[in-house]
Symmetry: C2
Subunit: 233 residues, 2 copies
DNA sequence: ATTACTAATCGCCGAGTAA
DNA sequence: TTTACTCGGCGATTAGTAA
């Protein structure tokens, strides 16, 4: 018989191209910020499919939480959800990487003291194992905290569109440890990783981890200015 | 019976999402600049479809002139054509417009004299009618020619990714008049349009058209510096 | 007019397999 | 091995129509 490897991965739900095509059409119609008034026939015409197919697409999108419809008697109002825009944004960045290369960002801030949480978390075997495996080094037990100005904070948020290195959450000793995403960085020229916890406690403080103590290696004290370069993948 | 408008436009060849998905996959594998060595099974696995389906996709792409395959006995080499990259680039800019807004460009150059061709072409009824209809004004019979430095010339080329306003070619008096694409512009602040003929005679000269004589209105002479702002759609 | 259901059709997918 | 063919099956699509 034919090789079983032929079969597509059943875990990944066959992401049909139609989905993205419909979402993009709606976004172009302004359905991201203002509800778009479009009949299923109009959607179908722009997509090159029948009214019935377009209607099924819209129903499916609503079912998946990507679209909110207000069904007035005559014309439905269509509004994309944040999840839909995330999907489109990911698509955008996939193309962007293709044509513009990997993203970069440089951010400046100043060293501050944390509450010792970094030391506690990075001592947990559940984290240590993942960091060692996915970052390629055993993390120094402690993070370097850097406070950013609001303007810089906005710049660091571009990493939300990047892929990053995933650290999964886990449970140990009867409590829950949250996940995080890491991004390769250079802090004052030294290789390290920016850690973005899924549930961040801080508003304006970001954390870096490295194999050694960044504070000691770079002879940093609270209040010292630092500059970090982030690079995608 | 159901409204015939339900049926999709048969003229537009049902652009299946698969097409773009495969092209993007190949581009990400570097098939735009270097032939990618990928079996149909590998392509299928990354796409979540069977080897057979992936192979059909590849054959279809080759048939459409989007892909060149070198079929060695063991592994095929896949290289995307320029047409394929154009398709992907258009896709990219569609997303880019969505998230970054319409594109802009500012270019600087100096006024030069043309050969009077602008006057001749813009007197042709075939052009006058189209300009009047699609630009919203009857064009002054004559273009303003602006010579650009090579660095500026590269900047003006971004408009190739923009949609622009299409002017179709036609035949009249036994000869052929080529098509062109127009882009809304402001030259020294004055509304006008940049014209890009499909077959341009010049390397470093671009042409502007407006309802009135730009040269007279703006009191321009050969050699005068001008600045043009271009805005997408 | 809409949206959206049902039924019949169509065409794509993957199995099996040839080259 | 690989590419790529045929074919059966089934999911997606459209026609027709209800609400």
């Amino acid at each position: 018989m034919a090789d079983r490897a032929s079969a597509p991965d059943p875990a990944r739900p066959r992401a049909r191209g139609e989905t993205i095509a419909v979402l993009r059409l709606l976004a172009q119609a302004g359905a991201d910020h203002t509800p778009a008034v479009l009949t299923s026939r109009e959607v179908g015409a722009r997509l090159g499919v029948s009214q019935q197919a377009a209607d099924r697409y819209l129903m499916a999108l609503e079912h998946r939480g990507l679209l909110v419809r207000s069904l007035a008697r005559r014309r439905q109002r269509l509004q994309l959800t944040a999840a839909a825009m995330d999907l489109l944004r990911a698509e955008y960045h996939s193309y962007r990487r293709l044509f513009e290369g990997p993203g970069r960002a440089t951010i400046a801030g100043e060293v501050v003291s944390g509450l010792g949480e970094g030391r506690y978390y990075l001592s947990q075997p559940g984290y240590v194992l993942q960091f060692t495996e996915r970052l390629g080094y055993g993390p120094f037990p402690g993070t370097l905290n850097v406070r950013l100005k609001p303007s810089e904070l906005r710049r660091v948020n571009v990493v939300r569109d990047w892929e990053g290195i995933r650290i999964d959450g886990f449970e140990a000793s009867g409590r829950t440890f949250g996940g995080a995403t890491c991004y390769a960085a250079r802090l004052n020229g030294r290789r390290c990783h920016l850690i973005r916890p899924d549930r961040s406690h801080y508003q304006d403080v970001i954390e870096f981890v490295a194999a050694e103590s960044l504070r000691r290696r770079l002879r940093l004290q609270d209040g010292d200015p630092v500059e970090a370069d982030l690079e995608e993948s």
